[in-house]
């Protein structure tokens, strides 16, 4: 069986728009009903959702499987941290952190895409680069590794990052504030990417994903489109990294490491790579599960996680959201069929 790499991303209709409005309303109202600890957990899930989006946009959109979204995630986090601790201008630092990630994506993407590194080889180059960053950051524990006034601290990471200070507010964002900010960021990123996929640009990406050679023969410079997508995706991942630093007040080399890198791929596969919403749901499920398992006394959490992943890939190879979507449309079809059967009678 061959499963599609990505969806077709047609222009969204009224149900989609009403769902988005509903989500915004829910987000605004949510803190009234949730305790702070839950808001804190949900915020981390929002951030993972943005990270998952960056991956699914790249993979589901144009068919590039990057194993190294963590490069940009980590750079965004470290970029934000170093800038904010040197300048105290936190919003500015968040934006610059995104640019750092996007810049790195531009360099790396140019190097790979114009070097005709494809498929699994591209995945591996991104993986290797993220491991290089991890090793280099880990090797900075000595006091000589300082950028401005910030010590990089190697293995231990940088703790105590100041909160996000938005313009017109007197105090840095509270847990509730970060909840709103990250939730809003997730929704906006999702809408932005989803709408982008429905534009002419998005159609070209889908074309490249389905058949790059044909698109090239039609006169499109596919490398340029792939590079632009890679840069956008890197920027989104870096944005998630910056938000992660805001959320937890810490960054560490584990942001770059292999298990974080595979985790992103897992989120996308679990949620379903043919949609943009799937990976967000995948990230939420896996993150929630990991945390919940740690408090219910299952013994070794990895045993349970491993078993779930195996069962999942055997039973829902297309991912959760597409499988459920299929189920729904099949049910609807059955209903229609029944109704017409009745009418015929």
């Amino acid at each position: 069986m061959i499963y599609p790499v990505g969806g077709s991303f047609l222009r969204p209709g009224a149900p989609w728009w009403s769902a988005i409005v509903l989500a915004f309303v829910l987000l605004v109202l949510a803190p009234r009903g949730l305790d702070l600890a839950l808001q804190y957990d949900l915020t981390s899930i929002f951030i993972c959702g943005i990270l998952a989006l960056s991956m699914s946009f790249l993979w589901g959109g144009v068919g590039i499987l990057s194993f190294g979204q963590t490069i940009f995630f980590g750079l965004g986090g470290y970029g934000y941290t170093i800038l904010v601790m040197n300048t105290d201008a936190s919003l500015m630092s968040l934006v610059l952190g995104v640019l750092v990630g996007g810049g790195m994506a531009a360099v790396l993407g140019y190097f790979m895409i114009y070097g005709r590194i494809n498929d699994i080889y591209l995945s591996v180059v991104t993986l290797v680069v993220t491991l290089i960053f991890e090793k280099m950051v880990r090797a900075t524990s000595g006091p000589e590794y300082v950028i401005g006034s910030v010590r990089l601290n190697g293995q231990n990471g940088i703790p105590g990052i100041p909160g996000l200070q938005l313009p017109f507010l007197t105090e840095p964002l509270s847990i509730e504030g970060v909840f709103w900010f990250a939730g809003g960021a997730l929704l906006l990123t999702y809408c932005g990417l989803r709408l982008l996929m429905a534009t002419r640009f998005g159609r070209i990406l889908v074309g490249i994903r389905e058949n790059e050679q044909r698109m090239e023969l039609l006169g499109y410079d596919t490398r340029r489109y792939r590079l632009i997508t890679f840069i956008i995706s890197g920027g989104v991942a870096a944005f998630a990294g910056g938000l992660f630093a805001v959320w937890g007040s810490f960054v560490g080399p584990e942001m770059f490491n292999l298990s974080q890198a595979s985790l992103i791929v897992i989120w996308v596969i679990v949620g379903g790579r043919t949609t943009l919403i799937g990976p967000i749901i995948g990230a939420a499920l896996i993150q929630y599960l990991t945390k919940w398992l740690g408090t219910v006394g299952v013994g070794q959490v990895s045993t349970v996680m491993g078993a779930i992943l195996i069962v999942f890939v055997l039973l829902f190879p297309r991912g959760l959201v597409p499988t459920l979507g299929d189920l729904l449309s099949r049910l609807r079809l059955a209903q229609v069929a029944q109704r017409s059967l009745k009418d015929a009678k």
């Binding site: 061959i2 499963y3 499987l65 190097f111 790979m112 070097g115 005709r116 590194i117 494809n118 699994i120 080889y121 591996v124 180059v125 993986l127 290797v128 680069v129 491991l131 290089i132 090793k135 280099m136 880990r138 090797a139 292999l258 595979s262 791929v265 897992i266 596969i269 013994g299 070794q300 959490v301 990895s302 045993t303 349970v304 996680m305 491993g306 078993a307 779930i308 992943l309 195996i310 999942f312 890939v313 055997l314 190879p317």
Partner: protein
């Protein structure tokens, strides 16, 4: 001085080739990325420690561990990998799940603490530097393992059938070859190679549930850079990376050695996007 270099390089190359061969057979022949490779090694290490604690001599423990992990590989192929051929990304997820599962189960069964076993004791002094006998044993076993793999693949009927099946499964099937059996056997062989690697490492690093993680990314990069041919590719890639690692680790530090290897890998892939042996028309 020069002997020290030769020793360090030979040791680093052998170590890398040892931990990569199983992965490279499975990837090169079947296009399956086995993220549980490190855990197969871990199982080999535990099997070897267990046999040795029963009083079996070192060599016997090594053979038992290799066979045990090979059998385990057969079971995994039958239950899991079989359903996922041709879906490279899904095998990635499934084997990652398997890796987590094996880590969890082995922590529950064996505990988190490392288990040790004696290797082959003794030291050799060459040019003022003392080296352990065991490191020479490791180099020897690696060469032997590569040799055996090469002989099986190129000089036996089985090897011919396997290579044929990997290239054109449809034609092999039409010729009456049981391709399922071939896939299963190849995966089992790769697992056994991983088991042997783990067993060889047991006296050096001990057996711990998490030992696989330290090796899997190295092996993975080595295999991808090697390109399509499991044996020639792995040997060449190990030779290059091992040399870079040993020389830079000795002259500078371990971190510098590791980073140099990774940078070298990226540069190699930039120049040879299909891996070192990607353009090779023939060979194994």
């Amino acid at each position: 001085m020069i002997t020290t270099y030769i020793y360090l390089i030979a040791y680093a190359v052998a170590l890398l080739a040892l931990i990569s061969l199983g992965l490279s057979v499975i990837f090169g022949m079947m296009k399956v990325i086995n993220l549980a490779h490190g855990e197969f090694m871990m199982l080999g290490a535990y099997a070897c420690v267990y046999c040795s604690s029963l009083g079996l001599p070192f060599w016997a423990s090594l053979i038992v561990a290799t066979l045990a992990v090979g059998c385990f590989g057969l079971v995994v192929e039958r239950l899991l990998i079989r359903h996922l051929y041709g879906r490279i990304v899904d095998t990635l997820l499934a084997t990652w799940g398997l890796s987590l599962l094996l880590i969890g189960v082995s922590t529950a069964v064996f505990g988190p603490q490392a288990r040790s076993m004696p290797g082959i004791p003794g030291t050799v002094a060459i040019g003022g530097t003392t080296m352990s006998v065991y490191s020479f044993v490791l180099i020897g076993v690696t060469i032997l393992m590569m040799l055996v793999t090469w002989l099986i693949a190129t000089r036996t009927k089985v090897g011919l059938v396997v290579r044929g099946t990997m290239q054109r499964p449809d034609i092999a099937g039409a010729l009456g070859i049981n391709t399922n059996l071939v896939y299963m056997g190849t995966f089992g062989f790769g697992a056994a190679a991983a088991g042997l690697a783990g067993a060889m490492l047991a006296p050096l690093t001990g057996a711990t549930p998490l030992m696989g993680a330290a090796f899997v990314s190295k092996a993975f990069i080595n295999v991808i850079v090697a390109g399509g041919l499991p044996l020639i590719g792995t040997s060449l890639a190990s030779a290059m990376f091992g040399t870079v690692d040993a020389v830079i680790s000795y002259l500078a530090s371990s971190v510098a050695g590791e980073v140099a290897v990774l940078v070298f890998a990226v540069v190699l892939l930039r120049m040879l996007p299909q891996g070192i042996t990607g353009r090779f028309r023939r060979g194994f």
